[in-house]
């Protein structure tokens, strides 16, 4: 029986027993419809049950299985072995994040940044229930919808060279989320969020490399969100010159 096999290198790190990360090679039976995530599940089920990786939905909705595939940030469930076979595949945890264990990274900094941008609608004035719902036209919705598709997988942070150099930078996903709420017609919190945008660590930490938008699995285009926010921040700067707080 001649089953097709593919070699997969996985970066292992178990903090309680490994001094530093090392690469372990596995041979996995190859089929064209097999995703990277399924290959990892095969390894865990049949070859080495100690391997750790995050996953949940298997369909690019949950954003759990982000990892570096041959050095490129990808979702394990959305990348397929057929795009690499017969060459070997190398899997590493997402770049720019500390490793927790094997392919699992510590995402605390990213989550903190998502919380910091006030990612919720701040109404201009509280409306009574009897006044009815907030109405929105399709045009008003189109202004922010794209930026609301983020699944918080963190691929854009692994791609961002500025976040790699200085993790004080708010980063692509959090700024895209900020833009999503600032551009929402139901929101009145722009003034509060612009203070975050206007900082060096806000949009001005970005040099528009654009790789975040290339790797984004949901076509959110965070780079566009950030450049649009730079325009807003520049307007805010001009207004601030004549009307200091």
């Amino acid at each position: 029986m001649s089953e097709l096999m593919i070699e997969i290198d996985v970066l292992r790190y178990r903090p309680e027993m490994d001094e530093k990360p090392f690469t372990q090679m596995f041979e996995v039976p190859y089929t064209p419809d097999m995703s990277i995530l399924e290959a990892l599940q095969y390894i865990k089920d049949h070859l080495d049950s100690t391997i750790s990786f995050r996953w949940s939905c298997r369909m690019a909705i949950c954003g759990s299985c982000g990892m570096m595939v041959n050095g490129v940030p990808k979702l394990g469930c959305k990348a397929f072995l057929r795009d690499y076979y017969p060459k070997k595949v190398s899997l590493e945890p997402l770049a720019n994040f500390p490793i927790e264990r094997d392919l699992v990274v510590v995402m605390d900094d990213f989550i903190k940044k998502l919380e910091e941008v006030k990612p919720y609608i701040i109404p201009e004035k509280e409306k009574c229930l009897s006044e009815g719902t907030y109405q929105q036209t399709p045009e008003q919705m189109a202004k922010f919808k794209q930026f609301s598709m983020c699944i918080n997988c963190g691929l854009c942070y692994a791609a961002c060279p500025q976040y790699a150099l200085d993790n004080k930078f708010t980063g692509p996903a959090a700024l895209a989320l900020l833009a999503r709420y600032n551009r929402d017609s139901r929101d009145g919190g722009e003034a509060q969020r612009m203070k975050i945008v206007n900082q060096e660590e806000g949009v001005w930490g970005c040099t528009f490399v654009g790789y975040c938008s290339v790797v984004c699995p949901k076509d959110v285009d965070p780079a566009a969100a950030i450049q649009l926010l730079k325009v807003e921040s520049s307007k805010d700067y001009l207004i601030g010159m004549f009307k200091p707080e």
Binding site: K195, I196, N198, Q199, E200, S234, Y237
Partner: protein, 125 residues
């Protein structure tokens, strides 16, 4: 969450330099190829008569008020663009020592050259 509400935000002055960078980049992208085409290809090939670009003609153009403005903008803005890029590239390649001085030297050069061109044009009138 209390620490985030206490946070003080410091406004960046980057919009000034980003504005000059953007304007300079636009000019560089659109007009530099045209200028290279004219002065580097079309005039040497004789397609455009080089007498149109004689000293007297160019001097005459640079000493009108609109000509002087065009020359100043064409020299100064791409310079601000270039030095902004260099300043940020220094950070990107890991030269982080003396960022303040890097900024003074980069933008200082662009500023000095802009003033130089400005006075040069002014004294031609």
């Amino acid at each position: 969450m209390s620490e985030t509400t206490e946070k003080t935000y410091k406004r960046s002055h980057e919009p000034v330099f980003w504005g000059l960078f953007g304007a300079g980049g636009m000019l560089t992208a659109f007009l530099t190829p045209v200028m290279i085409l004219i002065t580097g290809i079309l005039i040497p090939l004789g397609i455009i008569n080089s007498q149109n670009f004689s000293y007297e003609k160019i001097h005459g153009f640079a000493t009108t008020w609109y000509g002087a403005v065009i020359v100043l903008v064409l020299v100064a803005l791409p310079l601000w663009h270039t030095l902004h890029r260099i300043f940020h590239a220094l950070h990107d390649i890991g030269i982080n020592r003396g960022r303040d001085w890097q900024q003074v030297i980069c933008y200082g050069f662009a500023f000095a050259a802009s003033i130089f061109v400005f006075t040069l044009l002014l004294q031609m009138f």
